[in-house]
């Protein structure tokens, strides 16, 4: 346990958004596994089907006493955005106390490439999120993952920053044990390194 008592933990809703191929579903699953390992109820929801076709991939996890696995408008206590444009698109899921982790590396949709619309200014997007939400951890997870050894670990950098949040009651040891269980030995070290880099960024 980190700062709160599991028994008194009411519940948290996390909303994940990103683009197909970014590893959002594995990240979502990690939260669920970590929560279960900490003795909390967890339930998650995924939308499959469009992942390989460059569409938006949304998922959610709810922990504690919350039963319904999806996150409606204004319900996300934590927003995990793997892509800055998608962070903006998910702002209606947030409320004034929402804490967010936002990856700053953009994936420009083909509609922009084809001249249908303009990609928003990232600095202004972050400023807008910061103005509305309680806390925003903005980081270039892709760059950090590259430092850790592979761009493929971007999702674990982001999850490190999520794990550092005070609203989640799972301890660092619990997260680490779950990483060890989810990844084969060959990939564990790289992903743990990426996770720790994100954790440092997310720590207050």
């Amino acid at each position: 346990m980190k700062t709160q008592d599991i028994a008194r933990f009411e519940g948290v809703r996390l909303f994940f958004t990103g683009v197909g191929g970014q590893g959002t579903l594995l990240a979502t699953r990690l939260v669920g596994e970590a929560a279960l390992a900490a003795g909390l109820h967890a339930s998650m929801s995924e939308i499959h089907g469009m992942a390989q076709r460059g569409g938006i991939v949304e998922s959610s996890v709810v922990l504690g006493n919350i039963q319904a696995p999806i996150v409606g408008e204004g319900q996300a206590d934590v927003l995990v955005a793997f892509e800055p444009l998608e962070a903006l698109r998910a702002i209606n899921r947030c409320h004034a106390q929402t804490q967010a982790v936002v990856n700053l590396a953009p994936i420009v949709p083909f509609t922009v490439a084809a001249g249908q619309g303009r990609y928003p200014d990232i600095a202004r997007a972050v400023a807008m999120l910061q103005e509305k939400l309680a806390k925003v951890v903005a980081l270039d997870a892709e760059a950090l993952a590259r430092q850790a050894g592979s761009v493929k670990a971007t999702n674990m950098v982001i999850m490190g920053a999520v794990a550092a949040m005070q609203v989640l009651p799972m301890s660092k040891e619990t997260w680490d044990a779950c990483l060890q269980r989810i990844f084969p030995p060959k990939l564990y070290e790289l992903n743990q390194k990426a996770f720790n880099m994100g954790y440092e960024k997310g720590h207050p």
Partner: protein, 619 residues
């Protein structure tokens, strides 16, 4: 050992709803599984395909949903427990078999999973299949969580076998694709071995047999209703003079809404898990304890109508509401349910401020992958037939061809409708008609439409987009698959032979990645349309994702724009590959760059523009 086979009674696993359904089937000794894939049900058959050999189960990727029900019911007739899964619209295809199977019944347990898709996450409609169970007269269970899905599978098989009737497990996307802890039971060993006793006067549905069987079905339903009245899946919680009736995942939204509104001490929730036959006595009893009832359910007022019938029978005087407060379209969530509950009971409810999503954000629709051969086919057909032609399309990845810049989709209602509707269009229009259908969809329900078009001498071109797999739902096999781990071989059912067998005389096969040749063949076929009749073009190139997975081939080249692409700009814009990045050159004119990370290496753009050159990828 497959993960879903491991684990003993009492152990907890974090399972996807569809995995929990598989586990429930394993705990019931299911040995015959048949399905045509469809979101959100596909993981059920795919999971079984992975573990089937280990337990000696027959796992059949059926050619369509009707065939899957027929195939599996024969096994169940011989005493082998069977499972069929499909998406909601699949039950439309299977409904002919389904309706009369309710009369004939089964010897061993048979569960039919109908995976509904409120909000149309990946479907053409959001029909409410609960009415199917009622129409056919078969028992229905509605899980809210993966745990219930597993438990209801086990209970479903017992019920099915006891009463000799198939059982419907009606799920929704939020159950199929929810992952939550599931407490396991024990996996049961059985053999894939049946026996058949001839009994034509109960098994061959001629009118005199059908009459007798209908009466027998009504008798069974009366008995099963007793079970429904006492089902452990129908539960009540909370206290107070207000009532809510709900089922499935909607009941979870209700629970969260009541907690957040602080109404647990004022509202009783009757959560129904067995919703057909409707537990009328249980509901009458519930109505006796409350003054007003709100029915909270997704989509149609299925429960609401049943509750109103009970109220009329038992003389309930209180207020009943449902769809006046609960939206009828799209899936619910806790926010919508809170609104409905607060509105009906007149409770003050503080709504949080909702931040508005900026309006000018660029869209991110799903798109054909870079390197997808469908894009190349659409490009060439459009080049030859232009805007003049009418393009009925079908269900698969290629439906995404409706998006700009391709816009090669004019009409679609269901699986197989491309070729049949093309026949109708061609009879009443003086325009060329070119229909598109995928290989898997052609086997599923395009063949009959093609035969119909040929026999009525319709004037159309059918393009069969043959990528050797069922790509949209996750690369499942079908009868015409010619690409396997062993390489490119002979399919079980040869597409050309089949098409010729349907009476088609004008048939050509092209590789759409060879642009010039494809357009040349299309020009010939266009000229041939003037003589009337049905032409078929098989546009054959494997799905690159599938090919890489099957053959383990690594991509060898990507393409780069190395010079002036302006002369070919219109063609490149029409192709609209999702790896293209549009930018401006020094003089401010539009030019194409190619995102090397996304480029699939199909070389189609390089055939349109000489400035685009290959670049070898390092091994």
């Amino acid at each position: 050992m497959h993960e879903l086979l491991s684990g003993t009674r009492g152990e907890k696993k974090f399972l996807l709803g569809n995995e929990a359904i598989i586990r429930g089937a394993l705990e019931s000794g299911v040995r015959f599984v048949a399905a045509y894939p469809g979101t959100p049900s596909s993981e059920i058959i795919d999971g079984f395909a992975a573990l089937g050999p280990e337990i000696g189960a027959e796992v059949e990727y059926s050619v369509n949903e009707k065939v899957s029900v027929e195939s599996a019911c024969a096994a169940a007739q011989c005493g082998v427990r069977s499972l069929v899964s499909m998406k909601h619209v699949g039950l439309n295809v299977a409904s002919d078999a389904f309706m009369t199977l309710a009369y004939v019944g089964v010897k061993a347990g048979m569960v039919i999973v109908s995976a509904d898709d409120p909000s149309l996450h990946s479907s053409q409609n959001e029909q409410d299949n609960r009415y199917y169970a009622k129409m056919a007269g078969v028992p229905m269970l509605e899980p809210a969580t993966p745990q219930e899905a597993k438990d209801m599978m086990v209970a479903g098989y017992e019920m099915s076998e006891k009463f000799g009737i198939p059982v419907v497990l009606r799920t929704t996307t939020r159950v199929n694709h929810c992952r939550a802890p599931v407490v396991l039971g024990e996996v049961v060993e059985r053999k894939l071995e049946g026996s058949f006793t001839k009994d034509p006067f109960n098994l061959v549905v001629v009118p005199m047999v059908g009459r007798k069987l209908h009466l027998k079905l009504l008798e069974k339903l009366a008995q099963i209703k007793e079970l429904s009245e006492t089902s452990p899946f129908n539960t009540e919680e909370g206290t107070g003079a207000w009532g809510i009736v709900s089922s499935g995942v909607s009941a979870l939204y209700v629970k969260d809404a009541l907690r957040e509104l602080g109404l647990q001490d004022r509202v009783r929730l009757l959560k129904l898990g067995m919703t057909h036959p409707f537990p009328e006595g249980l509901v009458a009893d519930f109505l006796g304890r409350v003054e007003a009832v709100l029915v909270v359910e997704e989509l149609e007022p299925f429960l609401e109508e049943a509750v109103r019938v009970v109220a009329q029978k038992c003389g309930f005087q209180g207020k009943i509401a449902g769809k006046e407060f609960v939206p009828r379209a799209f899936e619910l969530d806790t926010v919508k349910v809170k609104e409905a509950v607060a509105g009906f009971f007149g409770v003050i409810h503080h709504r949080p401020q909702i931040f508005a999503v900026p309006e000018d954000l660029p869209a991110r629709p799903p798109n054909l992958c870079p390197g997808c051969p469908h894009r190349a086919t659409f490009f060439s057909v459009k080049k030859v037939f232009g805007e003049e032609a009418v393009y009925p399309t079908d269900i698969g990845c290629y439906t995404l061809g409706l998006l700009p810049p391709l816009q090669m989709a004019d009409f679609l209602i269901c699986m197989g409708s491309s070729v049949s509707t093309a026949g109708g269009f061609s009879r009443v229009l003086q325009r060329p008609v070119v229909a598109f259908i995928g290989d898997s969809t052609f086997f599923h329900s395009g063949i009959t439409g093609l035969i119909n078009a040929v026999s009525h001498n319709r004037n159309l071109l059918l393009v069969i987009l043959d990528n050797s797999t069922t790509a949209m739902t996750g690369h499942q096999p079908h009868p015409g698959v010619w690409l396997t781990r062993e390489g490119k071989g002979q399919p079980r059912v040869d597409l050309e032979t089949l098409v010729r067998g349907c009476g088609v005389q004008k048939l050509a096969v092209v590789n759409p990645l060879h642009v010039k040749k494809t357009q040349q063949v299309l020009q010939e076929m266009k000229a041939g349309l003037k003589d009337g009749g049905v032409s078929v073009l098989i546009s054959r190139s494997p799905c690159p994702l599938f090919e890489r997975r099957m053959l383990g081939i690594k991509q060898k080249v990507v393409f780069q724009a190395t010079g002036d692409c302006r002369p070919c700009l219109d063609d490149l814009a029409q192709l609209g590959c999702s790896a293209f990045v549009w930018s401006q050159d020094e003089s401010g004119e539009a030019c194409v760059q190619i995102n090397e990370v996304l480029c699939g290496g199909c070389a189609v753009c390089a055939q349109l523009c000489q400035a685009i050159k290959p670049k070898k990828l390092e091994a």
